[in-house]
Amino acid sequence: MDRRELLDPFAGMLASCCAPADIRRIEAGGTHLEMWEAIESSGFLQALVPESQGGIGLRMASVAPLFMALGGNAVPLPVAETMIARSLLSTAGIGTISGSIALACQNGAGSTFVPYGRVCDHVLIDDGSALQLFDVRQLERQYTNVPGSVDAWLNLPKSGEALRIIRPGSGISHLGALVSAAAISGAADRLLDMTTTYANERVQFGKPIGRQQALQQQLAVMAEDVIAVRLAAELACQNSFLPSEIPAATAKIIASNAAVRIANTAHAVFGAIGISAEHDLQLFTRRLHNWRQAFGSEQYWQIRLGAKRLKSELRSIDWVRNTYEC
């Protein structure tokens, strides 16, 4: 399928339901029901559910541009996560659960950090031995109290109350990592666009600041990062329906590594105005920092990837070719 054939209606749908004012309203604690209703009724949440289960049955590669568009629109709801959760649940023979589903990995006995934990309806938790689906209304939530944050800590009950399904081989942390990497990619692309446009408009010392060589070199580096993140995310979405761990780890390493640099360059070019809450820049740069940390930072995945690499006697190029199936 042509990339745009799927992306254009999706992007159009997001443009109409997820304007900066809508994002700010939800971030401030307002209702997200209208936005969720628009997304749910678009049918895209069924993208990864097999056709035999009433879904659209798309491959991950087709959906990757949608994941990036979510980041590029700073959508404050777990949309990609819901698509993945629905596909995991349908594979386990469970019919459609309405409402949004966040993903998370249970860490120890305490409360579990859940990206989108403040705004999701359900959470699909990987506890290391199974996946459990909780209705968030029945859980104790602890908000981060970080302005604009839609994340939360959730206190999970010991057992018994959740729907349990079989945990896929390597769990779901790498799926969350891939979704975050794709979101970073979309937001980074958007930031590059915003920043170069601004550099061409903003005049200082009698000419647009984008004419300054020092700034051009910074923006060129930003573009390199943005393209590398996108290619890494695309690469991770190629080989199968649910991507395997190594390419997903790779996407997250490249994206998380670049996220801070990209955010910083964008702010450097915009100057003080970009720091203000009123400016849309922060809708994207704040998220780059969140997504960098979500489901493991670059260092976390580098250690895991390095361990896998050292188990193989192959030459590095051959290892990349074999492992990434490219």
Binding site: A61, T196, R211, L219, A220, L231, I253, I254, R309, I317
Partner: protein, 383 residues
């Protein structure tokens, strides 16, 4: 931005070349120590290049009627990747195969194509590129080597410098001024094919800091060239050079210059049984960058295969790729010297020293970092 620069697959037909080139490359390096394999780019072995030619592994992007493989950039990608992964000595045919043959195919006359290209494809005509001059650096528009019209053709005077492998090459494709002066910048530049055996040419090798001598200075003193030395259009040299550089900057060679060192180091880590988090993190970072850069290089090859001239995309890959190539020796040196308790492997040590010392050249050859970033900035609409 740059939406067409997207993931692409290597076609299976081209993957099929891999076993053959792998075997030939393995035979060529079987007796070479790692620090010699690390010199892959500058390893000059004309017999090996002829062997590749016989096996049909040169000129893969050239139509069959000129002795080429009649295939595309993906086939060349596979061959280059295998040669560099093994550390095979590619210098003899390197420039002719990558740049000169496509240039002559695209801009040359039919006579020039028939004369030069089949020999390039057989590994029998070796080329170097005469771009830099003393004082010109990245500012190629300032070249002053001059070719003046004569009754029979051209008379060439001037000097080139940093021309890799000119000492062992048969021909140089030189960027020279055929009209106007340095103030005319891009106007008045042309490309000429110079037979390096002609009278009036003096070539002096320049030793580098690793003890090798691949660079040379080339002096032209009233060198008479025939009229058919001109390649392409008179005065269009700049445009031709820019198109040529997309071939030079996009390939896997801009990622793999330190790959022998990387593999030697990983083999050492396995032997030493080292698996602390600091080590694993460094290995993981390098593998993630390698996989991504390779994906980008394949994506750029797809643009070449589609007939585009991905000048900006190639610049993005080259800048990121050479950063990777340069970060490797710095990080590996730090790693090895942080473990003085591990037994030293002299071959790994020599490989590390060679790559560390030569690494600054990675972001100089084929366009400096600052020039590439300027090209990217132009692609972003900032210039």
């Amino acid at each position: 931005m740059f939406e067409n620069f997207a993931y692409a697959d290597l076609p299976q037909d081209d993957e099929d070349l891999r076993p053959l080139v792998r075997q030939i490359a393995a035979d060529a390096v079987v007796d070479l120590p790692m620090d010699q394999r690390a010199r892959s780019w500058s390893g000059f072995d004309a017999a090996f290049s002829r062997k590749l030619g016989e096996a049909g592994l040169l000129g893969l992007t050239i139509p069959e009627q000129y002795g080429g493989g009649g295939r595309g950039p993906f086939a060349r990608f596979v061959v280059v990747e295998e040669l560099l992964a093994a550390g095979a000595p590619v210098a003899a045919h390197w420039i002719a195969d990558r740049q000169s043959a496509p240039l002559i195919l695209n801009f040359g006359t039919e006579e020039q194509r028939q004369f030069y290209i089949p020999r390039i494809c057989r590994g029998e005509a070796l080329f170097c590129i005469g771009m830099s001059e003393p004082g010109s650096g990245s500012d190629l528009a300032s070249v002053t080597t001059k070719a003046e019209r004569t009754k029979k053709g051209w008379r060439l005077n001037g000097q080139k410098i940093w021309t890799t492998n000119s000492l062992h090459s048969d021909y140089m494709i030189a960027l020279v001024r055929t009209s106007g002066g340095a103030e005319d910048r891009h106007k008045g530049l042309s490309q000429l094919i110079v037979d390096l055996k002609l009278p009036g040419i003096t070539i002096k090798p320049i030793s580098d800091l690793t003890g090798d001598a691949h660079f040379a200075e080339v002096f032209f003193d009233d060198v008479d060239l025939s009229a058919d030395a001109l390649i392409g259009e008179e005065g269009a040299g700049w445009k031709q050079v820019v198109a040529e550089l997309a071939f030079e900057r996009s390939g896997p060679e801009r990622i793999y210059s330190s790959i022998i060192l990387l593999d030697s180091w990983i083999a050492h880590l396995r032997e030493a049984g080292r698996s602390d988090d600091t080590t694993l993190s460094l290995v993981g970072e390098f593998m993630a960058r390698l996989a991504t850069l390779r994906g980008m290089s394949v994506a750029c090859t797809a643009l070449l295969a589609a007939g585009e001239s991905p000048v900006v995309e190639a610049s993005i890959i080259k800048d990121l790729g050479t950063s990777f190539e340069q970060d490797l020796p710095a990080a590996i040196a730090n790693d090895l010297a942080s473990h003085p308790d591990e037994s030293a492997n002299p071959e790994l040590y020599r490989t590390l020293q060679y790559v560390s010392h030569i690494a600054p050249s990675f972001s100089l050859r084929g366009g400096t970092r600052e020039i590439l970033r300027g090209i990217i900035a132009r692609g972003l609409g900032l210039r």
